[in-house]
């Protein structure tokens, strides 16, 4: 639950009075152009940034006071690939499983399952530095989910992916939802948000300008897709600012 969250960087307001409640087991999409404040919201929710004002509770814990409890619940997939190039794909995944203090057997089982689902089993022993961009992004996602978190923060998980890898990730995210995980997904791909999300929050210049299911948003603005919804709301295309 986010209440009146504001985050300022010196004189720049990245998030401006955001209030939002995300239900358990919900797949929530945070949609907006680059620089809208999506990643800042995710960083505050993960305890990586302190809010300037407002309050944030994740899984029932106050992020400012019970940060460690929150970090035990969550898995974070950053927008840019953050993995060690001198480790193999498997070693990167196992490292982050160990940082979540997973039992050895469970870690091994989860690692192999996720590598298989992401079609990376054969290449898992190669060093990450030798991977293609798409493979790195898939490892980046597995590293966030290996410990089977209750809440997953996926920050632009499919950006710069080829269509095949993107659809593989969409299927994977769909499976996570079926298993009852709460997922907060940021994206500026309209079709991704439409395909996956139960509800969408559209954010622009740090403010939440719309919040509803994709269908209801389209119905409300009589739009054929979410791109048109964004144009109706802001008068410009979402990807013009990329």
């Amino acid at each position: 639950m986010i209440e009146n969250l504001t985050k300022k960087f010196e004189d720049v307001t990245a998030v401006d009075g955001l209030s939002l409640e995300i239900e358990k087991r919900e797949l929530f999409g945070l949609l907006g152009p680059n620089g809208a404040g999506k990643t800042t919201v995710i960083k505050v929710l993960c305890g990586l940034l302190d809010p300037t004002s407002g309050s944030v509770h994740v899984g029932g814990y106050d992020i400012s006071k019970e940060t460690t409890k929150v970090k035990e619940l969550i898995g974070v997939c950053p927008q840019d690939v953050a993995a060690y190039p001198f480790l193999s794909g498997r070693e990167n995944v196992e490292l982050f499983g160990n940082l979540h203090a997973m039992p050895k057997m469970k870690l091994k089982k989860n690692t192999e399952e996720l590598l298989e689902k992401m079609s990376l089993s054969e290449d898992a022993g190669r060093r990450l530095g030798k991977y293609s961009g798409g493979m790195k992004r898939r490892i980046n996602l597995i590293m966030a989910l290996v410990h089977d978190p209750e809440i997953a923060f996926l920050d632009e998980p499919t950006v710069a992916m080829d269509p095949q890898s993107r659809h593989a990730v969409w299927n994977f995210i769909g499976e996570l939802k079926k298993r009852g995980k709460t997922i907060i997904l940021t994206t500026h791909y309209m079709e991704e948000a439409e395909e996956l999300c139960d509800r969408i929050g559209i954010i622009d210049h740090g403010k939440l300008i719309a919040l509803d299911s994709p269908k209801q948003l389209k119905d409300r603005f009589k739009a054929k897709d979410l791109e048109e919804v964004f144009i109706e709301l802001t008068g410009r295309k979402i990807r013009e600012e990329m």
Partner: protein
């Protein structure tokens, strides 16, 4: 603190050490190659190869009647394996050869040497009846051995020849000009260098730590780890452990390479164990300097440059190069921690000082205090300003 997290991070850092070419070179290959190169250049392969130094002697006492003390002293000097005695008829001819580098030093035995020694033995406990004199010594200022070791050797030989061991700490009528406090034996130049090599290798940990932290920050890895339940204590503990392991590998490698090229330090296993512990403590200091560097540096490239602010003074003022520096530079050297590591290791390995001697314990105290302080400052600065 969960040991599983610390162990996972340590394993990761050790893999970086082996798999990243830059880290592998700086931590493992560079110290090994440096030791090997120095050993080959200044030491002797396959054992403690004896090196002889040509010493000119002008015996002005030879003209007196019964110059037995002077001959006894010269005989003792000649028997030393390390010196080759070359007699000269005059001071001038000896100086000509010294200037030309043909000899490393000149000893001038004064005309009243015999008289002085006799006066001592006539009244060993009554200095007022002694005939005082001075043994003039000139050394080649460009020779490290000559400047550091020749005078103590002469002092020791003179003491043994004229007075015997028991009079070492008493006043004597024959003085040596400008005596040194160094006690040397059969010594190669490499044996002067070797203790400093241990400190020299460890100093470069500063750069490795700074580069790894700044690179991890650039790649978003520090932030990513921060989004896990890993505590700052667990993370920093892993850094300290992995870098200490790196320093230990370095020290073992330097020792092995030095041993391979003939280096045989004085002391026993206790001495050796103590030396390794000292190097490990010193590695904490370099981890601290690395963290301070990572705090100041905006990128891994900048970290390399800034690291040299810590590396250069330690390298030039506190390791083997220090002994060839001016008196002022050597005084300034006392403000860098590597000086105390080199000093302690030199005392242990070259002079055979026991680990509980005052000098060694003083050096250990300084190195430990500075290392803990540097590490704490580094951790605090990095946590406050360096993580993002």
């Amino acid at each position: 603190m969960k040991f599983q997290r610390v162990l996972a991070l340590v394993k990761k850092d050790l893999k970086r050490l082996i798999r990243e070419p830059a880290a592998l070179f700086m931590i493992i290959l560079f110290p090994a190659m440096l030791t090997l190169a120095f050993g080959l250049a200044f030491g002797g392969i396959g054992g403690n190869q004896s090196v002889t130094y040509q010493i000119g002697v002008v015996n002005e006492a030879s003209t007196v009647k019964n110059p037995s003390w002077a001959q006894y002293f010269l005989g003792n000097l000649t028997r030393l394996e390390i010196l080759k005695i070359q007699p000269y008829p005059s001071n001038e001819t000896a100086h000509t050869d010294l200037v030309q580098g043909k000899i490393s030093a000149i000893i001038i035995i004064p005309e009243n040497f015999q008289q002085s020694a006799d006066s001592y033995w006539s009244a060993p406990t009554n200095p007022s009846q002694w005939v005082n004199t001075t043994l003039q010594v000139y050394v080649d200022s460009g020779s490290m051995f000559a400047t550091q070791a020749i005078q103590p050797i002469i002092q020791q030989t003179l003491t043994e020849a004229v007075y015997g061991h028991q009079t070492q700490s008493l006043a004597t009528p024959i003085q040596i000009s400008n005596p040194s406090r160094v006690l040397a034996s059969v010594t190669t130049t490499f044996e002067f260098f070797a203790p400093g090599l241990f400190a020299f290798a460890s100093i470069f940990l500063t750069m490795i730590v700074a580069q790894s932290f700044t690179l991890d920050r650039e790649l978003g890895l520090l932030r990513r780890i921060n989004a896990t339940p890993t505590s700052a204590t667990e993370f920093m503990s892993s850094q300290v452990i992995s870098n200490m392991v790196g320093a230990l590998i370095q020290a073992v490698l330097v020792f092995a390479m030095a041993y391979a090229v003939g280096y045989r330090p004085k002391g026993d296993f206790v001495t050796l164990g103590f030396a390794f512990i000292l190097v490990l403590i010193f590695s904490l200091c370099n981890v601290g300097f690395g963290l301070i560097t990572a705090t100041l540096a905006k990128s891994s490239g900048a970290a390399t440059g800034i690291a040299f602010i810590f590396i250069m003074p330690q390298m030039f003022l506190g390791t083997f190069v220090g002994s060839a520096l001016s008196a002022t530079a050597q005084s300034v050297g006392k403000f860098v921690p590597s000086y105390y590591v080199t000093d302690a290791l030199t005392s242990l390995f070259l002079r055979g000082a026991p680990v509980w001697s005052e000098t060694i314990l003083f050096d250990l105290t300084v190195v430990s205090s500075v290392s803990i302080a540097a590490l704490l400052v580094g951790i605090l600065l990095f946590r406050e300003y360096g993580r993002t």
